[in-house]
Each structure stands twice: as C-alpha cells, then as structure tokens.
C-alpha cells in the first residue's frame, strides 16, 4: 500500500475519535473547569447516549415497517439487522431524520442522567460527591451488560447503518465529516456559553460559592443546570462513539476510558480553557491511536500486549503536568475587564449621546 493512503486511513480512523472525545472533554470542562464540579462519573451519561443509539432506532424501524415483530429484536439480531439496514439504505431521508432524532434523544437521556447525578451533586461535600458519582457511573454499564432487552446483554447490538445510502467508498469520509461537524458545533456552543454572563456566574460560583450566594445568585440551580447541560453533551458524545463503532456493547464502556481519560485531557490541556481541552484531546488521541497502529511492530520487542502502555503513558504524563504545570498547557483566560480610564470614557460618551 502506498504511504499517503496509509496516512489517509489513519486520519479517517483518528478524526471520529477526536470528535467524540472532544465532546466528552468539553462537557467535563464545562462542569469541572468552569463550574468546579468534580464529576467522577462521566461514564454514566456517555453510556446513556450510546445505549440509546444502540437500542432505539433499530427497534423503531422494526415497529414502523412491521417486519419481524414476532421475533425478539435482540435474540434474532443477525436476522433483523440486515432488513433494517436495507430499509435505511433505500430511504436517505428516513435514515437522516432517524439519526438526528436518535442524537436528540441521546442528548435527552444524557440530560436526564445528568439530572439524576445532580441530586447528590448540589448537596454533598466534594469528597463525598466524588465517591458517589464514581459509584453511580458504573450502574448503567452493569444493567446493559446483564439485562438482555436493553442493548442485547453481553453480546451487544449493532447500530443501524444510517449512511447505508452512500457508496461504501465514501461512507467513512461522510461519517468523519459529520462527527467533526458535531464536535465543532459543540465547541462553539460551549465557548459561547462560557463567555456569556452565565459562564461568568459559573466561574464565580467555582471561585467562591458563598460570595455568589451573598450576591443573590441561586447557586444550586446554576450548578444543576450545568450538570444537565454537560450530561446532554456527554450523551451526544456517547451517541457519536456508537455511530463511529457501529455497535454498542456495555463491555466497551468503562471508568478508565470514559471518566479518567477525559479528565486527563481536560487537566493536561488546561482546565477552564476550551481550546486547551481541544489540544489535550488531540494530543492524547493521536498518541493512543499511534500506539494502536504500531501495536504489531512494537509488540515484537515486548513480552506483553502493547495496549497496556497506554494507561502507563497517560498516567505518567498527567502526573508530570500536575507537578510541573498545574494549570495545564493553556491556562485559563482571564476575564477581560475595562480599565477605569476606559470606563470613564464610556461614561462620557454615554453622557454626550444623551
């Protein structure tokens, strides 16, 4: 195979991963970087979104078109799935609207789970909260793994191929492009949100909750809203992961991959700085994908599976950043305030205009 082709294939694999993790990390950055809420149960909302994409659209098609209704969707998965994909391949409009509907539903599920985790979040002290959220995070994985009628239990389910109407050669590009678009929109949304008065209020609560309360702000409701918004984004990210891999299996979701790694990305990139978070995401995704690509070449020299180097490299780099550059690669931007002279000038001009 030629060199450029290999690079292109690498990029095509890399870009969806970056997009999905960018959305998770941005949602964590909103919670922790801007809101100071230590969410150690990030994996909960991500699994919520992914499970929805695994469970809902396929069964909806079966219901709408009425084939195989007498069969169990999960028991006869291999039989039903080709028919679902056939329907979607014939009707691009249906496929696209169903996909958008699933994404919105995934966000709603994420928001709902966010609401659930906001119940302890607004009440408990930091350490208790971290412990509770960590324990909560794994619940949905456990249910998905054991309860067959959610996402097929241990076997998992396939996600209907929404891009079936596009020629096979171009499908990967379209998917990567679509996921990138979603990640970009999320980035713009989070950036605008954190620059708005709401974002400043959030930061003020992070820095001094009592002060914000004394100024008459309802800090509990602001925190709750933040967790719900972040939950919705994490649900979207879960849906993106499911779309990218084309299948959903509870075993693929874990504390390490969907809670810890986003934390690494946010802290290394710079908490409270969305661009920094993006840099952290790109850095780590490129690194971990490269390890994955050169797995075989590296494996020849090492008496163990190379993938285990990923946790070691990730944790070492995070510890190094925490010791030597605790603010991350990009530090949080200071809120721009006007100098007294500029304020005076503004006052003058307002007076003059009157």
């Amino acid at each position: 195979m030629t060199q450029p082709e290999q690079i292109l294939r690498f990029l095509l694999d890399l870009v969806p991963w970056i997009s999905a993790y960018l959305v998770i990390s941005l949602s964590l950055n909103l919670e922790y970087g801007f809101g100071g809420i230590p969410n150690f149960g990030k994996v909960l909302c991500v699994t919520g979104g992914a499970f929805l994409v695994g469970a809902l659209p396929g069964q909806l098609i079966v219901m709408l078109y009425g084939f195989g209704e007498e069969l169990n969707y999960f028991d006869n998965h291999a039989q039903i799935m080709p028919k679902v994909n056939e329907v979607l391949a014939r009707d691009p409009l249906l496929a696209m609207s169903l996909m958008l509907f699933s994404l919105v539903a995934a966000m709603l599920v994420g928001a709902g789970l966010g609401l659930l985790s906001s119940i302890p979040a607004v009440r408990l002290k930091e350490e208790y909260l971290a412990m509770t959220l960590l324990a909560m995070g794994e619940i949905l994985i456990l249910i998905g793994d054991n309860y067959k009628n959610l996402i097929g239990g241990t076997l998992g389910v396939f996600v209907p191929s929404f891009f079936g109407w596009i020629p096979v050669a171009n499908r990967g590009y379209v998917l990567a492009g679509f996921l990138t678009l979603l990640a970009f929109l999320t980035f713009v949304f989070v950036e605008l949100l954190t620059r708005s008065p709401y974002g400043r209020l959030l930061k003020s609560i992070r820095d001094d909750e009592v002060l914000a309360q004394s100024l008459g702000r309802d800090t509990v409701s602001v925190k709750r809203k933040t967790i719900i918004i972040a939950g919705a984004l994490a649900g979207l990210a879960g849906a993106m992961l499911a779309l990218n891999s084309g299948a959903v299996n509870a075993k693929n979701y874990s504390r390490a991959n969907h809670t810890f790694i986003p934390w690494v990305m946010v802290i290394v990139g710079g908490a409270g700085n969305n661009l920094g978070t993006a840099i952290g995401v790109i850095l780590f995704m490129v690194g971990s994908r490269l390890i994955d690509v050169f797995k075989r070449e590296l494996g020849a020299f090492l008496p163990f599976d190379v993938i285990w180097l990923t946790p070691i490299l990730l944790s070492t780099s995070l510890l190094l950043v925490m010791f030597f550059r605790p603010t991350g690669i990009l530090t949080e931007k200071r809120v721009k305030t006007l100098s007294s002279r500029e304020l005076d000038n503004l006052k003058e001009s307002v007076k003059a205009n009157r």
Binding site: A135, R255, P303, W308, L309, P311, S315, M322, P326
Partner: protein, 304 residues
C-alpha cells in the same frame, strides 16, 4: 457444617472491613478518598495468584508478602504523589485526580505483569480464583477463619495501638491536629507515612483473601472500590472502628440481600448485586450523613 451463605457473608464482610479501614485511615491523613485503594487489593491478590500459579504452593505462605508489597506501594503513592502535591497547595479535586491516576498506573503495570507472567510461565493470570488452594479445618474453609480472625485481631490491635501506645497516640494527634502535633515534636509526615503503610498492608491482606474466594482480574480491586466507599461512608468516613463495622455490615448486605431476593423468586436480580453498595451509600448519605458512629460514640469525629 456451615451453609455457603454464611461462609460467603463472613468472607465478604472480612474483605470489605479490612479494605475500608485502610481507606478511612488514609482519608484521615490527606482528607481525600484514595481512589487507588482498590489497587492495593489487586496487588495483594496477584502476589498470592503468582505464588500459587507459578510455584503451585499455598497462598498462605505469602500473606506477609501481599501485605508488605501493598504497604510499600501505598507509602510510595503517599511520598511520591500525594504529599508533594498537597505541599504545593493543590486542591482536593486535584488530589483525588492524582489518586485516580495512580490507580490507572497500577492497573497498567499489573496488566503488563499478568501478560508477562502468563506468557513466560504459561499459566492463567486472569479470572482466576485460588479456592482450590484453600484448605479446610473441621470442614470450615481457612479463608473464613482468616477473614474473621483478621477483623477481630485488627480491631484489637488497632485499639491497643491507637489508645495505649505512644506511637499510636502520636498518630492520632497528627491526624486530629497536625500543627499542634508538630509543635509537640511529633514528626507528622512520618506518622502519615506509617498510616499509609498500615492502610496498604491491610488492603493487601484483603486482596489476598479476595483471591482465595473470588476470581481475580487486574480490575478486581477497582470493581470492589464502590463497596469499600460504601463501608467507609457507612462508618462515617472519619472513624476507624466505624469503618470496620461499616465493612462488616456492607459485606453482609452484599451477600444476604441478593440471597433474600433470590429466595423470593427473582433469581435474575443477583446479577445486579454491585448496585447494593451504591444504594447503601445513598441511603446513608441521605439519612445519616456522618455514619453509624454518630449514633453512639464520638471517637475520631472531632477532626473535620
């Protein structure tokens, strides 16, 4: 003769109590929950697994090694990561992330070891329980005796240590008021290091019992973490004897409740057993935020 439920309950309670007392001890020193505490169990468990799998000998021969190795890892974690970070004035969230990082690091190292040992010695190193290496006394499995005796012994020893010995009193002083203890000439850092060693050693012991009873993987300790948290929170998170009691209670709940539900006819519910620690945690935090110790005695609650 004992029925399996009783044995399971007692072993599980012992593991939970031994691990949660360590978590509480380290929480008292650094004021953050140690998310890497489960890793101490994994390390202790794998010492026993390798010993039994490679040499084919009884895991009981290496109880001391399980405890020692986990204890040393705990000291390294404290000395190399937490103490320097705390002295730089890192926030508690940062310290928690640091402990999570250590857990992830240990997971990587343990996985590499498991792979390496598996390939070199051609033995299974994943999903392996050492029950076949256990022996029985009067048809009672030894691991149950070990579990009960370690809970009883560590309660007695910790009580004597913390109340009757100079070293233990110095440790309590360092925990309750570090600056005052320092003024009195106590080396607070050394006391904390000792506390971390005890914590890791008890975790290693718990891990060794875990390996004798349940299948071990490199994530076993991390999966057990919610149970440890629930036990400590039930014990009030800052009371050592509370967490011992909490561990015993959570361990009991963890095997008795599923059994009761199964008796009622909902056998498939047993798979959802890991939900129980979370339920206990939520109920305790909602109804009795400072744990069972707030009900009767006050020791250890002064420190906030």
């Amino acid at each position: 003769m004992l029925d399996p439920l009783t044995i399971n309950t007692l072993v599980y309670s012992g593991i939970a109590a031994m691990s949660s007392v360590g978590l509480t001890l380290t929480y008292l020193t650094t004021r953050v929950p140690n998310f890497a505490h489960g890793s101490f169990l994994t390390i202790g468990a794998y010492v026993a697994v390798y010993w039994a799998q490679i040499l084919g000998r009884s895991p009981y021969e290496v109880i001391w090694a399980s405890a020692l190795l986990s204890g040393c890892v705990a000291v390294i974690q404290y000395k190399l990561v937490l103490a320097p970070l705390a002295s730089r004035g890192s926030s508690s969230t940062y310290l928690m992330i640091a402990t999570l990082t250590v857990a992830f690091f240990i997971f990587g190292v343990m996985s590499i070891f498991a792979d390496y040992v598996g390939r070199v010695y051609r033995v299974r190193t994943n999903y392996i329980a050492l029950r076949s290496f256990d022996f029985q006394i009067l048809s009672i499995p030894m691991v149950m005796i070990l579990s009960i005796s370690s809970v009883v012994l560590s309660t007695i020893l910790l009580y004597i240590f913390l109340n009757k010995t100079k070293l233990g009193i110095a440790m309590r002083a360092s925990i309750e008021n570090p600056s005052l203890a320092q003024v009195l000439g106590i080396n607070v850092d050394r006391m904390y290091t000792l506390a971390w060693f005890i914590s890791g050693a008890l975790g290693g012991l718990a891990g060794m019992m875990y390996a004798l009873w349940l299948p071990v993987t490199t994530t076993s300790g991390d999966e057990f973490l919610p149970t440890i948290f629930a036990s400590s929170i039930l014990g009030g998170l800052s009371s050592i004897f509370g967490s011992l009691a909490g561990g015993v209670l959570v361990g009991m709940a963890n095997s008795v409740i599923p059994h009761m539900i199964a008796v009622l006819g909902f056998t498939e519910v047993i798979q959802y057993r890991p939900v129980i620690p979370l339920l206990i945690m939520s109920i305790v935090l909602l109804t009795l935020p400072s744990g069972i110790t707030s009900l009767r005695w006050r020791w250890g609650r002064e420190a906030k």
